[in-house]
Amino acid sequence: MKMGGFDVRYTAIDLAYLGVVAAVSGVIFALTWEVYYIGELIGGPIGARILSYGLWFIGAPLAATLIKKPLSAFLGETLGALVETIIPTYGGFTNLIYGVSQGLFSELVYLLFRYRRFDSLTATLAGAVAGIPAVYLDALLFEEIYPLEVMFLILIGAMISGGIYGFLSSLAVKAVKH
């Protein structure tokens, strides 16, 4: 694949990494579902989302820190979403819509750094900004229910949660990639 000035070929190894990130994201998310449902019963979609928001965004920072090539953040998040759509998970195609949007925003972070930094800083930011499209889409999905002030608080919560998990993802990759 060519991308602007970069000639970045994704080898089968890079693609396998993407696949594996998609699967890991899926498994991590499935592991926290119990938390999601309990959170949802108690605090509704808001409660559940604040607890688990950041986990939904880890596809991008994981893939980017691992592969370190343009489009890796976007693909990591999108493929993870595609896998979740297929399994299927609760949410069906919404996963894909969210995933593509989140992936785009995360990718922007790496683009802004001119694809020179694939470290903890960019991972944290990538996780954080993914909160913006996620909350916006949530607003569309649940618009009638939540007033603007609440949505704003959710946005802050989502971005913090995303940043934290983005940061942790980069730490995990550093701990295991020889």
């Binding site: 080898t11 190894i13 396998a16 730490l171 550093k174 701990a175 295991v176 020889h178």
Partner: protein, 490 residues
């Protein structure tokens, strides 16, 4: 060089993953069409790196380097352009099917190779079906590869690597992960391939299985080619001894010290135990009744998939039996384990599962008493240099040992080992066996699930044969007899 198209020439001065850090050096040999070459040597001698180098993967894909000349039937794999022709010419079967299979079903897996190489739809279908039938997977073409046994997955890997009728077939540690029965079956298939005229390069540290099969044997040690043996010119006995002296598993004879009587009290009472993972699954363990005594070394031997790992996990309290009861008699109490506990320490075949911290330092200091850790660090100096490393960044051997040391720091009463000898060459195996006996001397109970006959060298107190979920107490002599029968004349 008019023989170029019919031969393989390998002349590597140096090769490695990072510039200036060679992993293999001075390897020069040639292979004639139709020959079978065995490349053997102790673990870590660079055999896998050699495969990556001679296929062109090391320099073209992994950003490594190869200083030298390679010609595979006239194609130079080191050249980026010619590298693209390599897939047509060679087939490679890697060590672990889980690290090679990428598609959902056997059909898709085999078709993948042909699709990549641009075959037509009709040819793809025909050739795929042909090869799957030939490898005995004809009736499993469209089931999910998940459900294949280890041996079937191996055969699937072979099928997908030969469907395009490559001129050279490379097998990397083909007997890895296979139990003795699986190895026997594999050898039959390899003989068949040889008779069909395939040129074979087999890389394997367990040379013993391939001594008869090979035309020539290359010994690689510390990254260099040390010796080449022309098999027909060497007496089998001499060959075996010579290789054994170099640290290579060359002898098929299974030795054992026989069974030592149990002296201790009853530790485990297993009564009519059966287990299935869920209602939809079949029983993995059926109606098992046995006793295990304190301070014993107990072996559960059996083929892969026989249920021995599940049995270990039941003993560890990871699962509860679906029928029957397992009672643990420890410290004067008799209990049924309902959850895992540190007193019964299960050590997985894969060390990565065992770690929970981000540094070796934490893994050690947070697992045991201070004085035990201090003593350990004195005993094992190489650990001291790795304290700040992440456990996952250690070499495979180091991770293995780290897992064992962590287990020891927890000071459990019972150690449960799942296939602890997988991938260990002669020297490493000896070290492991010595270590086991040192733990046993402290009065610990050691229970091992394995298919590896080499573990029969331990001072065993009880041995059980596990097959299709059923467990039978056996005499060591019977088990040895059975194993030797499998490889008659080895």
């Amino acid at each position: 060089m008019d023989n170029t198209r019919n031969s393989i020439y390998i002349d590597i001065g140096e090769a490695g993953y990072t510039g200036g850090e060679p992993v293999i050096k001075n390897i020069k040999f040639s292979v004639k069409r139709g020959e079978s070459i065995l490349i053997t040597g102790p673990s870590g001698s660079g055999k896998t790196t050699l495969i990556l180098a001679l296929t062109g993967v090391l320099n073209n894909l992994l950003e490594g380097y190869v200083d030298g000349n390679i010609s595979i039937f006239g194609i130079n794999p080191l050249d980026p352009q010619e590298f693209t022709s390599i897939p047509e010419t060679i087939g490679v079967v890697l060590q672990d099917p889980e690290k090679q299979l990428s598609m959902s079903t056997p059909y898709d897996e085999v078709a993948f190779t042909l699709e990549n190489l641009g075959y037509s739809s009709n040819d793809i279908d025909r050739l795929t079906r042909e090869i799957l039938n030939w490898m005995g997977l004809g009736n499993k073409m469209f089931i999910d590869s998940l459900y294949l046994s280890g041996g079937e997955k191996k055969r699937l890997c072979i099928a997908s690597s030969i469907v395009h009728k490559p001129r050279l077939l490379i097998l990397d540690e083909p007997t890895a992960n296979l139990d003795p029965w699986g190895v026997k079956e594999l050898l039959e298939y390899i003989e068949l391939l040889k008779s069909r005229g395939y040129t074979l390069i087999i890389v394997e540290h367990k040379a013993k299985y391939f001594l008869n099969l090979s035309d020539r044997i290359l010994l690689i040690k510390d990254g260099e080619l040390k010796k080449i043996y022309q098999v027909k010119n060497v007496k089998p006995h001499d060959l075996e001894n010579d290789l054994a002296n170099e640290g290579v598993d060359a002898s098929c004879k299974i030795q054992s010290k026989g069974v030592v009587k149990s002296g201790g009290e009853v530790l485990y009472t297993v009564d009519g135990v059966s287990f299935r993972y869920s209602d939809k699954d079949e029983e993995v363990i059926s109606n098992v009744t046995l006793e295990i005594y304190k301070g014993d070394v107990v072996l559960f031997m059996g083929p892969n998939g026989s249920g021995k790992t599940t049995l270990l996990k039941l003993l560890a309290g990871f699962y509860k039996p679906t029928r029957g009861k397992i009672t643990l008699h420890l410290d004067g109490r008799s209990i049924s384990l309902t959850r895992p506990t540190r007193e019964v320490f299960y050590i997985s075949q894969e060390p990565d599962y065992m770690f929970i911290y981000g540094s070796v330092k934490d893994e050690l200091w947070k697992s045991g008493a201070e004085q035990d850790v201090i003593r350990l660090l004195e005993e094992v100096p190489w650990l001291r240099n790795l304290m700040d490393e992440s456990p996952y960044n250690l070499s495979h051997g180091q991770r293995r040992w780290l897992a064992y040391y962590i287990a020891r720091l927890y000071n459990p009463d019972i150690y449960l080992f799942d296939e602890p000898s997988a991938g260990l060459d002669l020297n490493l195996l000896r070290r492991f066996l010595t270590w086991i006996m040192s733990i046993r001397e402290k009065g610990k109970t050691i229970i091992i699930a394995t298919h590896d006959p080499r573990l029969l060298q331990l001072d065993i107190n009880s041995i059980f044969l596990v097959k299709d979920g059923r467990v039978e107490k056996k005499d060591v002599k019977d088990v040895i007899g059975m194993m030797n029968q499998l490889f008659r004349g080895g």
